[in-house]
């Protein structure tokens, strides 16, 4: 009997290890012969631990499973009350276009055999067959950086490819510090070989021989998975002196962050990799020309790099066929916070925010009305339901003073205190500021104080806060200080009562 129990951190946080143990124990006690695979998550976190059992060649889902459910589950899976039917037929799965996440949740994350059986390495083989075509292919696909800034990946690669240097680097940004995001983590835990393949393709494309994956220390499971996968990829000849026997060299290793949000900013990350304080560097020079140790360096997000193998295997046109406007392809949405159905949902750009929150997330977990949605992490704006018709795309969100960012979608119900959330944004910026520029370093602390003044009923502090936000927007070197005004000002604009309501109510009562 084939059984799958996810090893993903979210599944583990909901008891997957205990369920896997119970299954092994129960199978031994009943003398049932099982093959248990610890897979990645299918992304339906509200159903985790989601156990899958193969019945007549089809994977059936059961969830959420607790250890005490296991005896009945093994005795008679078919009629079990937690039975969900074939996993691939669930509405959440059917509605997706899984390109980057095609294998996540399906294969054993550390099996090269299963990886290849599900299309793995086809992209790298295609790349090695025509190395000169790689950059054009990625450019034509329309792929833009998934780490937040949305810069065209092909153009970045072309710059590094053209640069003459004795050594070049591929650096994968796996710092994923944004609240509400976990796609990088799920990919690294569920299909780490895809990221390795993408980095190897990048290396071949630009002539880089060494790669680093900089993973935040808050992700020990992902660090373990990537370390193992790199060892396995080396053993299989995917990495090393001659990638898949091509005569081209590419190898890589994991580096662990040290708990600084700003190290997700690419130049701060490079300083951190070099063993320095994670202070942001002024640009120019851009990392593509002078990056790690002063050498030309590609810095890309996990999702950008992990999408590359699919594009190389299926062609730029197939990828670009999805999406809207200048937002081509798919985006792995991360649906989080106060939602009924939280998890990972990969889909072409273009759904409206309202469809995502209502149809996919199923509204709030609390059953109360949605008050606000923060998209794009702690530097993203808070959108009220009146902006729910905004289509999910880079330009479309920017047009509403919002951010797609890394596509975290965090939902809040009507108990949310938007003033407290605005204060938190400023406080977070003050804690995480790298200290290089004054508007961010001092401004964020002033922002906290100013919001406290508003809370105390001083309405004259409102224009002070607006001015301060403008100073931070235009005077900050990077997007930490430069974007934190977006959550603050959007909260103020769309939910003024949360800031001034108390004062207004007091005055009305007098």
């Amino acid at each position: 009997m084939r059984i799958w129990v996810p090893v993903d951190a979210a599944a583990r946080a909901l008891g997957a290890d205990e369920v896997a143990d119970a299954i092994r124990r129960e199978a031994a006690a009943r003398g049932i012969d099982i093959a248990l695979t610890r897979n990645g998550t299918r992304g339906m976190v509200w159903l985790e631990p989601l156990v899958e059992i193969e019945i007549d060649g089809v994977r059936h889902g059961f969830g959420p499973v607790a250890p005490e459910d296991v005896p009945a589950l093994l005795a008679g899976p078919a009629g079990h009350p937690l039975a969900l039917g074939p996993v691939d037929d669930l509405p959440w799965m059917r509605a997706q276009t899984r390109l980057t996440f095609a294998r996540v949740g399906i294969i054993d994350p550390l099996s090269v055999e299963e990886y290849q059986a599900h299309g793995g390495l086809a992209g790298l083989r295609a790349a090695l067959a025509a190395p000169d075509r790689i950059v054009a292919e990625i450019t034509d696909s329309g792929l833009r950086g998934r780490g937040g800034a949305g810069f065209p990946t092909g153009i970045k690669w072309a710059t590094v490819a053209r640069a003459a240097a004795d050594r070049k680097y591929i650096v994968c940004n796996a710092d994923e510090g944004d609240s509400g995001t976990f796609a990088d983590r799920m990919l690294m835990e569920g299909d780490p070989l895809t990221l390795i393949e993408g980095m190897a393709i990048a290396g071949v494309a630009v002539g880089a021989t060494q790669g680093y994956v900089y993973i935040r220390s808050e992700y020990p499971d992902a660090i373990r998975a990537m370390d193992s996968a790199i060892r396995i990829a080396r053993g299989a000849g995917v990495l090393g002196a001659s990638v898949l026997g091509s005569g081209r060299t590419f190898d890589m290793e994991v580096r662990v962050g040290a708990g600084a949000y700003v190290c997700g900013e690419e130049t701060s990350l490079l300083n951190s990799l070099e063993g320095k304080r994670g202070v942001v560097r002024a640009k120019p020079p851009i990392p593509a020309l002078e990056g790690f140790l002063g050498k030309p360096t590609v810095v890309n997000n996990v999702l950008s790099l992990a999408t590359v193998p699919w594009i190389m295997a299926n062609g730029a046109a197939a990828y670009a066929a999805h999406g809207i406007g200048r937002s081509r392809g798919t985006m792995p949405l991360q649906i989080a916070g106060n939602v009924r159905h939280g998890g990972l949902f990969e889909v072409a750009f273009g759904l409206s925010l309202g469809e995502i929150v209502t149809a996919i997330a199923g509204g709030t977990a609390s059953g109360r009305p949605v008050k606000a949605v923060q998209v794009g992490g702690p530097l993203g704006a808070y959108f009220p339901p009146s902006l729910f018709d905004t289509p999910f795309g880079y330009e479309e969100f920017a047009g509403k003073d919002g951010l797609v960012g890394h596509a975290g979608v965090v939902v809040f119900d009507d108990t949310a205190d938007m003033r407290a959330l605005a204060r938190f944004a400023m406080e977070f910026c003050a804690i995480e500021s790298c200290g290089k520029c004054t508007p961010c370093r001092i401004g964020s602390t002033r922002g906290v104080e100013t919001i406290d003044r508003i809370a105390a009923g001083d309405l004259e502090a409102v224009p002070v806060l607006t001015d301060l936000c403008n100073t931070m927007k235009w005077g900050s070197l990077c997007a930490l200080g430069g974007f934190v005004p977006y959550p603050v000002l959007s909260a103020l604009e769309h939910f003024p009562d949360d800031f001034t309501g108390r004062r207004v109510r007091v005055e009305a009562a007098e």
Binding site: A9, A10, A13, L14, V45, W46, E48, E176, G177, D178, S179, G180, T181, F182, R185, Q210, S217, E218, Y219, P220, R255, V256, G257, A258, G259, A260, S272, L273, E274, G275, K276, R277, G278, V279, F292, L293, Q334, I335, A336, G337, N338, V339, G342, G343, L344, Q374, P378, G408, V410, V411, F412, D413, A416, L421, F424, F428, E432, S433, G435, R441
Partner: protein
């Protein structure tokens, strides 16, 4: 995070007195393990902290000497990153997520209840050195918020009762 910039740059003096011979051996072994790598400082500091439980002040000039950095530069790095400790933590570290997705599911109230139940505020350690409480900004468990972590144990949809029970089982 920026106060270290004001520390005057002093020439490296080998004030190893605070490290005994065994500790010095362990430190040198860690340095030797990483010295040849590109950008060895963070890997060294992570290993030092894993071994010693903190970054001993006396270790910093030794690391600096090995890497051609001043002790002030090493200190600047140690003090920049939240992960590196200059004082030891408890035997167990409980981390509660305070970031937005967890807030949307009641992380603030959860933290208040846990702090009251444990008699600990953020960054504090129990008098018996058993437990330290720390905030964390996102564990990537935002679809099953609020989230908590203690060592290898992760907890989604955390409640005060379950967090306190998890902590109680840790000696």
């Amino acid at each position: 995070m920026t106060h270290a910039a004001n520390t005057p740059t002093a020439p490296n003096s080998l004030t190893v007195s605070a490290l005994d011979a065994d500790a010095l051996d362990r430190l040198n072994a860690i340095i030797a393990r990483h010295a040849g790598r590109e950008g060895p400082l963070l890997p060294i500091l992570h290993d030092v902290q894993a071994d010693f439980g903190l970054i001993p002040e006396a270790a910093q000039p030794i690391i600096g000497n090995a890497l051609g950095m001043s002790r002030a530069e090493v200190y600047g790095v140690v003090s920049f990153y939240h992960d590196f400790r200059e004082r030891p933590a408890g035997r167990h570290v409980l981390r509660l997520c305070r970031a937005e997705a967890c807030q949307s599911m009641g992380a603030d109230a959860l933290a208040d209840q846990v702090r009251a139940a444990l008699g600990l505020d953020w960054h504090e350690t129990t008098p018996d050195g058993r437990l330290t409480l720390e905030p964390v900004f996102c564990l990537g468990l935002c679809a099953c918020a609020p989230a908590a972590q203690m060592g290898d144990r992760l907890m989604g949809r955390a409640t005060a009762q379950r967090v306190v029970a998890m902590v109680g089982g840790a000696r």
